[in-house]
Each structure stands twice: as C-alpha cells, then as structure tokens.
Amino acid sequence: MDKGFLPRQQFPELYQALRKAGYEVIGPTVKDGAIVFSPLAGFEQLPLGWQEQVSPGRYQLEQTAGQRCFYWNTGPQALKPWLFKPEQHLWQAEQTTEGLCFRQTPEQAQPRAFIGLRGCDLAALKIHDQHFLNGLFPDPYYQTQRQQLFIIAVNCARSASTCFCVSTGDGPAATFGFDILLDELETGFLVASGSDQGEVIVQQLPLAKAKTKQLSEAKQQLQAATYQQRTMPDEQQLLKLVNRLDHPQWQDVAERCLACGNCTLVCPTCFCSKQESHSDVKGQQAEQVRLWDSCFSEQHSYIVGKVFRPEISQRYRQWLTHKLATWQQQFERSGCVGCGRCISWCPVGIDLVEEAQALLKDEVDDD
C-alpha cells in the first residue's frame, strides 16, 4: 500500500471528493458530550482537538489545543446502529377485501461513506457480516445498508485507558475491510487506498509523496497506541469460562450489576433483537418491527411458565460466556474486539476484562 500525504488545509478536499462521488458522509462529531457518528455537513464538524478521558463507568470529552480530528478512540456507537438498526420495520400486514396481504417496503439504499472507523470497528463489522449475511437466511435490511458502504478507516494514534484491542488482535491498526486508510499526523494525513473504489477517490486528492519522516512518525504513534493497560486472556483461556459456570465470581458481579443492558447496547458485536407487532386503530394495517434486545432483560429467556435466566448472575454469565467463549463455537472467534465500550458505559464500572481474569484465575495458574 503506497501512502500519499494530504496536508491538513487540503483535508476538506476528501469531503468534496466523497460528496461528488455521491456519498452521504457520516463521521464523528461531538454531540451531548460524546463522540457520535452523524451525517456531516463538512469536515469542520469533525471533533477537532477533542479527546476522551475514560475509565470504568466514566466517559468524558475534553477540548485540547490540538489540531487533530481523530485523537479520540471510541464513542458509544460506531457502525452498528447504521446497519443493524435499533428499530427495523420488517414487513407490513394488511387486511384487504381480497384477504390478508404481506408487504415489504424496499429499503432505501443511500451510498454512505463513513470516516473515522478503527481496527476494532472493522473487526466488529466482519463479525456482523458473518452473522447477518452468511447465515442460512441473509438479512435483507442489513445487506441493503452494507452494500453501499464506503469505509475510511483511521489508524489509532493513541489508546484510551479502556482499550485492549492488542490482546484481542483487532487493533490499534486497521488492517482490512476499508476503502481508504488514514494516519493522522500533526500537519496532515497519510492516505492509502484499500480497494478499487477507494483508489478512485484517492486519485482525486492533491497528494504529495509521503516523506520517510512522516511514515516513521505514523509508525511511532501507532506503536505508542499498543501500550495498553488491559489484557484480555487469550481465546484458548476464554474457552475455559464454560467450565466455570459455578464460580462464586458470578454472584459477586451480580451484586454490582444493575442488569441495565448498557454493555450489550454499546457492544459493536451484540446482535440480539426482539420483535413487536404494531397495528393501527382500525385493525387494517399492522407492522412487524424488530428492536434491539439484550440478554440482561428477564423477557429474553421467557417462555410460557418459565424464565430460563431469572437471576442477574445467570444473565451476566450469559453475556460473558457468550461473548467470550461460546461465541467462538458459533463464529470461530471471540465476540470481543477490545474496544472497551462496555467498560466505560457501564453505569457501575464493571470491567469485563477484570471479571474474565478473576473467573479464570485458577485456570491460568494451573497452566
């Protein structure tokens, strides 16, 4: 991959090129005290100089004097709500004079370019592709959004204190699944294309040849981002969680956990949903709607006469054993990409890495 250099003053030309190619540009911007992916009216809406301070149960943005747009790591959400929507209208039913009819409104597929996705986001996207596209019944709603996606990834130049993508193998570099890859330096961006459609856009940019000094600066900051405070046990260790279903730690965490489900909502790989049927007052039109759900809700495991996971300890256990262990049997890798979102967005600061380590402690010692 050859890297060109785009000076910071000329960065908006990337925006122009994307717009000209017909893409709606979605990117990070500061909203309600968090970095949120929204449609951008221009690159001036990027979080210039913003940086997050995170710790278990805490996420705070700080404005710095810096000029960088991507000097933060994660917001509460990235791609997930755009492809697997929190509320998806599946199909309509109508009582007509000819009888019952079922209809599906075709999804509007607008070409969208996402800027600012990280290695962990792309790893999560790959997992969702596997779930929603490669199953027995590909999900047409996800597919429609997925097909028109243009991805501009950014290599992380720092790590937040909650990041642990090095131990899951998903960051801090973005290594696949992008159309364009950026490294942000003080004075501008290193730009590389990762696909034919990426190349078309890159060709339109006033790129200079990247200098050796710039390349090594990018390498250094990427290297700096690999120093992380947390280490998730490796996948072989995590598989042993299923031998620990009786561990007292589940009760310990249940005493802190509120079963609010925040961790599953911010997790870029969680895919649970429930369905609701909505009908109009006259009883002629009804609609089947799919909504995000979480294994932390009691209803999740309800059948007539029984709830399979009535205790919070059992629901926390479902979350952790699914995400880290049984997920491996389902998808051939752990469901955790090391983004740390569930740690900072847990209202009581429960840290899944710590929990996993505590649960596996004797196992690790045994080896």
Binding site: S279, G283, S301, V304
Partner: protein, 279 residues
C-alpha cells in the same frame, strides 16, 4: 423445496387460510391450514413454523402433520397470541414462515426399536413422528409409546392412542400423575415410571423425547438405568423464539441456537449444557 417456498433472505410470511379446526381437549385445537403457494411444502417432522396472527405477533409451533393438502398444527391456548389463534373462525387467515430447524432423523433410525417419551399437553413434534412410524410400520422394530399427563382426560388424540395400542408390536403406556383413581389402561404416577414396563432392545433403539425439561432429565436417568446409550436419545427443546432462524439470539443454549441447531437435538451434542440452571 424450501428455497422456492421462501424467497431467499426475505422472510415475508405467506398467507394460510383456516380450512378446518378440531378441538382435541379443553384449550387445545388442531388447525388445518391451506397454504397460498404453488410450490410444495417440504418439511421434516419435528420442524416448526412461525405462525403470525394479524397485529399480535408470531409464535413458534411444531408441524403436526400434512393431510389432504392441508398443514396441521396442534396448538394449546396459553397467552397473547395462542388464545386468539385457536379462537379463529374457519376461513380466517394468518401468516406463516417456515419450515425451520432440524427434525427427527427418522430415516437414520430405520430398523431400530422406537421409544417415544412425552409428557404434558401438546407434544406435537413427537406425535407427528409417531404417526410417521406407524404409517411406515415395516421400517421400524418395536414401537413403544410412553405418555404422561396430569389427568387422563388431558390426553390429546385419545382415539389415536387406542389405535396405536391395537397395532402389532406397539406398546402404549399411559400415566396420570394427579389422578386419584386408577383407570383402565392407565397407571398412576409419572411417565418415567413407565419405563420399567417398556419392552424394547436397549442396544438397538432410538428414544424420541419431548416435554418439560424436568421430565426429560428424569427420563434420561431412568434410561441410563435401563442401559440405553446417550447416543440413542433425541430430544426436542423449547426456548423463547423471536426470529426462528438463528438471528435474534433469544433461543441460545450454550453455543447452540435452538431454532437452527434444534429444536430436535441428538442428546450427546447438548449433554454438557442440558438441564443446567440459568443456561
């Protein structure tokens, strides 16, 4: 073919019209459905459909059978969707997605004795398999049917059990757990106690089970005492279903999606997960 039947990746229900309805016992009805489709409806016994009632939602229901171009579903009215579903009038319409999941491997089991163990009111997936075995009587060894209910009049398909009893080489054992007085052909107690009376070749049999998990766990213990190998046992499980095809995550049991990898499982496959509290 299922692929012709359901547009690929597009899980729009097809329209089914209620052609006939039969009451089996208080609150339990068999719906006979005419499907609005040109292609044949291929399914395996033990598979299920998601039935949609206008404005109320979907529920998973096992396929009971196929008779005179009509699809049969036996449904127990218990809640929000099933109560109005069984109350539908002839001619009413509903939606249907399916068939989904894995059924009983009836072809693989040819030549062996078949032991059916069920408890509870509506064990449609097993009854469908019994009907198949009876209709293809020469392909199987002995047939043993063990069914437990609370009261003898809870038994579904009463005439059928009588018919099965009269077949050659077919043993029908019934138990009522909350009955006070013993009735002809009936035993007092749990279905698992019937195993002591069952006659089959423990080394060359297949056990097909469906019912509450507590019953199935008790039955597994009894089967082990009778020297039946785990690998001879198949069971049908229930979990909350929302999508029916491995997407919504609700039906998980350890690494399995019950809707897609089941609902019929080979026991050794799920042994380490089955019956654990809170899993």
């Amino acid at each position: 073919m299922m692929t012709e039947f359901l547009p690929k990746g597009l899980q729009l229900p097809i329209v089914a019209t209620l052609a006939d309805k039969q009451q089996e016992s208080p609150g339990i009805y068999t719906l006979h459905l005419a499907l609005e489709t040109n292609s044949s409806f291929d399914f395996a016994f033990g598979q299920f459909n998601m039935l949609y009632l206008f404005g109320l939602g979907e529920v998973p229901i096992s396929i009971m059978g196929w008779q005179q171009d009509l699809l049969l579903h036996t449904i127990r009215a218990v809640g929000r969707v099933t109560q109005p579903l069984v109350a539908l009038d002839i001619g009413a319409q509903l939606g249907l997605r399916g068939p989904f999941g894995q059924g009983w491997p009836l072809h693989q089991l040819e030549g062996q004795d078949l032991v059916f163990i069920t408890a509870g009111l509506g064990c449609a997936p097993v009854v469908a398999a019994i009907n198949y075995a009876v209709e293809n009587r020469s392909k199987y060894g002995r047939i043993v049917i063990l069914q437990g209910v609370k009261h003898h009049n809870d038994l579904l398909w009463q005439p059928q059990y009588e018919r099965w009893r009269d077949l050659g080489d077919c043993q029908v054992l019934l138990a009522a757990s909350e009955e006070k007085k013993r009735k002809y052909h009936w035993r007092l107690g749990m279905v698992t106690e019937l195993l002591a009376l069952a006659q089959f070749d423990a080394n060359y049999c297949a056990v097909l089970m469906c019912g509450p998990e507590i019953m199935m766990l008790a039955a597994l213990k009894q089967l082990a005492k009778h020297q039946v190998h785990d690998k001879s046992v198949y069971l049908s499980l229930e979990r909350n279903f929302q999508c029916g095809h491995g997407s919504c995550g609700h039906c998980q049991l350890g690494p399995y999606f019950v809707c897609k990898d089941g609902p019929v499982f080979h026991y050794p496959q799920i042994k380490s997960w089955f019956g654990l509290a809170g899993v």
